[in-house]
Symmetry: C2
């Protein structure tokens, strides 16, 4: 049986342990919600202060050039690219995940419409269990095109092969499910889509910085994702979009703002897309929030996704093992796959009073979150979570469940 | 003839003079580019520090509720609304001006398509001199709808009455032109559009915080705008969109993300728009950049748009008068209307070497900017610009022109 001392021993051997020091985490908190909002890199405060006081306050308008504000979406995109298997010039950090998804889906439909062999395809296939905004954006786009596009929802991964067919224009999947932590096989599913003549768009919201991703090697067509979860970019920090070089020339999207123009300051009255990844840009970006994204990426520069993945699996394995051993008397149901290849960096358990139990955990300093129906989510972020944290979190959970120390009538707050 | 002492006398009588103290402006700079990037309210630094250190770093995910992050777009929208003649619950601060323009145009086309008497209208009328991104977004939207929509560009204000006709679905105008400072008559032009059965969308990028705007009283249908110019919200701060109550029920837009859903945390697989202004929202917003917008709005809460307008006209009148008197020997051409009602809060002059002269001005600490062709822009922001600043700026301009102290081969940087 694993003991707390075993956990302390593993922490002492952990090659990532020192990175925790680069994050500002409150005392008496075990933070298992980095899958929703990543913790704050200490460097982010000084970075923001510099941008606000010096670049904005002192240098004013000149900072668009002198501080490189114009280049931030591309420069930071290049820093992020290696974490997801993208190349230089294939990623920009900009706008929101929802807006980028709209661009990606629109561009994918446009590519298909431009291919005579595929121009009749009118269906976007996705999962009913996908994060709702992905479905909503697909519905918004397809409804507005009014050329008979529709969104088809499949109820399980097993139904995907049958659902992807001759009428499928685009397959839209979130690589790691926000609720269950299920991880798709990107290579196999991309191949499945391609074999049927479809393109595939991946949402990496719960993947980037969480699990190794190799977009180019695995044959993805387009991808979007989030910087404020595992990448620790700050609350609501701008999202990213990846367009591989092989698709850039055909990439067109309707949010054709001046930042995507070939000559934004020529002030010409007709839109002409710039070459390369810049055509995924639209309007002026929130510089302070955007600049802080770099502080999160800098931490990743000190390790590797392989090292992060190894620890992530060790932490999630340990959590599953300890919960199943030490809370065996309680009605907890594991939702997340045991198989490593199918698991993201979170563990979800159901409990009949999941919301109440999670509220009690949060009150005791173990911060996870809750998702309908009855699911408690625990995110494990190897950059700042220790093995002892896992032990302590399970002990507090065991204590709460054993004493039924939770309020089943707890008022429900929204938690993102 | 006006003297510098006269200017100092006017500063001594200026009821807004004390507000300058709330801004951080560098020494030895006369900042006449608040029409592009507003100066920094001193309070913005502490606000950002609090959001980053306390709300993000310490309170973490809980801040979505406890710090009111979810409500920021609406709460700050309500603070902005009085400055533009909007009511409570009619404005949100979110996304970029370009993205909001896409939503507004799409919604306006949708409203027209839903009216049997107007459903055949297929033209968006705007000005060739409009800010390019407005034209590009209209082109992007109309091109993607592929139901025969098109964008018609008029070459002058005088052509608008003839251009707006039975095929016009929407008129899209920027209230104050970014280049010339020309201000449209919002009431008359809105009435002109309505008389022809069209809807009108106003871009307030150079109006909000610069000139009095009364959207509801003047019959506007929809509006968007920018918070980082005259509103001093910070570089690239999120933009705003106004949807009057009378249009909210029919307001539909294709960027249907989860923040616009009636029950975002129910995680239902079908999009259902929330009631009210919330349906103009899409995805998660950049909290730090968004929160700082409030610091700019707080300064406006200490005065009135009437007082700001009075000083703005006095400053721009003075600048025109002094340039025409003291630089009369030089080939400067006034582009901005002399008529108060047609003038925004900037003054533009052409000069054959406009770019070089502006570069020389900036090197001497007088920061304006340049726009093709040959236009030097000078923005006047009554919250932090003094009459003596105007005098001193003109003296430096006179000195540069008199000594031809500018480099006609100056390398051109992009300046937003």
């Amino acid at each position: 049986m694993t003991t707390r001392n075993d956990c302390l021993g593993r922490d002492a051997q952990d090659p990532l342990a020192a990175l925790r020091d680069q994050f500002d985490l409150p005392d008496h908190v075990i933070y298992l919600d980095g899958n929703s909002l990543g913790a704050r890199p200490k460097a982010a405060l000084a970075r923001a202060q510099h941008v606000i006081a010096q670049e904005w306050g002192h240098d004013l308008i000149r900072s668009w050039n002198s501080a490189g504000w114009f280049d931030l979406p591309k420069r930071l995109g290049n820093r992020l690219a290696p974490l997801i298997g993208g190349a230089d010039g294939e990623v920009v950090i900009t706008d929101t995940t929802s807006v980028n998804l709209f661009k990606a889906l629109a561009a994918a439909l446009h590519m298909q419409a431009g291919d005579p062999a595929r121009s009749g395809r009118r269906v976007i296939v996705t999962e009913r269990s996908n994060f709702p905004t992905d479905i909503y954006m697909a519905q918004g786009l397809s409804g507005w095109l009014e050329r008979g596009y529709s969104v088809q929802l499949v109820d399980s991964v097993d139904e995907l092969p049958a659902a992807i067919g001759a009428d499928t224009a685009v397959v839209l999947l979130t690589h790691v499910n926000y609720r269950t932590g299920y991880q798709h096989d990107m290579r196999a599913t991309s191949a499945l889509a391609h074999a049927a003549g479809a393109l595939i768009v991946w949402d990496l919201a719960h993947s980037a910085g969480a699990v190794p991703v190799d977009l180019n090697a695995d044959g993805a067509d387009l991808a979007v994702g989030c910087t404020y979860k595992y990448l620790n970019g700050g609350p609501g920090a701008p999202a990213f979009i990846w367009v591989p070089r092989r698709h850039q020339e055909r990439f067109r999207q309707p949010l054709s703002g001046w930042w995507g123009h070939a000559a934004p300051f020529a002030m010409a009255p007709d839109f002409a897309p710039t070459d390369g990844i810049g055509r995924a840009l639209c309007g002026t970006q929130p510089v302070v929030s955007l600049a802080m994204v770099e502080c999160g990426l800098e931490v990743f520069g000190q390790t590797s996704m392989a090292a992060i993945r190894a620890k992530s699996l060790a932490l999630t394995d340990l959590f599953i093992e300890l919960v199943e051993q030490r809370c065996a008397a309680h009605p907890l149901g594991l939702v997340t796959p045991r198989e490593h290849a199918r698991r993201g960096s979170q563990v979800s358990f159901t409990h009949p009073h999941g919301y109440a139990v999670m509220s009690a955990l949060i009150a005791r300093g173990v911060i996870g979150d809750y998702r309908e129906p009855a699911i408690m989510r625990f995110g494990f972020t190897p950059l700042y979570t220790s093995y002892a944290d896992v032990w302590d979190a399970v002990e507090i959970l065991r204590d709460i469940l054993g004493r039924k120390d939770y309020n089943v009538d707890a008022k429900r707050d929204a938690v993102t």
